[in-house]
């Protein structure tokens, strides 16, 4: 099961939509840096996939609330997710 990490805003990059096209049942999605702006639009109410994690410091920095459907993680949580999943896929561009 893969962990997909997205670091770009879904409004200015295709990273998230490309990732979702490659998302399989049992995978997990982690939003970091500008990737957390996915929480700002429609996705915040009903995520396209499950489970979705979000780096709490990056959301707080940008003034975004983390909805109940998304799990907030800190750096240790991020490392744990990387350890639990294989492979880890970066969608950084």
């Amino acid at each position: 099961m893969s962990l997909h990490i997205v670091s770009k805003s879904p409004f200015s990059s295709t990273a998230l939509s490309d990732c979702l096209d490659a998302f399989a049942e049992g995978d997990a999605l982690l939003l970091i840096e500008d990737g957390v702006y996915a929480l700002s639009g429609r996705m915040s109410e009903r995520p396209a996939v499950q489970p979705v994690y979000c780096l709490a410091a990056d959301a707080a920095a940008r003034g975004l609330q983390i909805p109940d459907s998304v799990t907030a993680v800190d750096d240790a949580g991020w490392v744990a997710l990387c350890a639990e999943h294989n492979p880890v896929v970066s969608w950084f561009k």
Binding site: S7, F11, S12, D34, Y37, S40, R42, R62, G63
Partner: protein, 120 residues
């Protein structure tokens, strides 16, 4: 006559340095009596979200920095309403601070009124 300058603020605040560079350029220009106008569009509208707390990622709050603009002679800022709508935001969702925000429906028409446009 003084040239009219518009700073186009297109980037979200912390993922890269452009948003901050744009603000620095506007502040530097203002210090030299060249007051630029600002138009927030695209992901740049995210610079205006309230309650940004970037201490956890080791950065200064750009939203707070922007509130200082009136002291530098920049009395207001324009916001592209189309960009807001695309992101599920409206003007009320943005920071109601000391920098008054003016909604703009037709960015092209606004941009056309300037002598120089700096894109950040």
């Amino acid at each position: 006559m003084t040239k009219r300058i518009l700073a186009l603020c297109r980037q979200a605040p912390y993922g890269n340095a452009l948003a901050r560079e744009g603000l620095e350029a506007v502040l530097a220009a203002a210090a030299m009596d060249q007051v630029a106008d600002l138009l927030f569009c695209g992901d740049g509208v995210f610079q205006l979200l309230p309650e940004q707390s970037p201490a956890g990622i080791g950065q200064k709050s750009l939203q707070r920095n922007l509130q200082a603009l009136p002291l530098f002679g920049v009395e207001q800022a324009y916001v592209c309403t189309k960009s807001l709508a695309q992101r599920g935001l409206d003007l009320e969702a943005l920071s109601q601070g000391q920098l008054p925000l003016v909604p703009v429906d037709d960015s092209a028409a606004l941009i056309a009124t300037y002598d120089s446009v700096l894109s950040f």
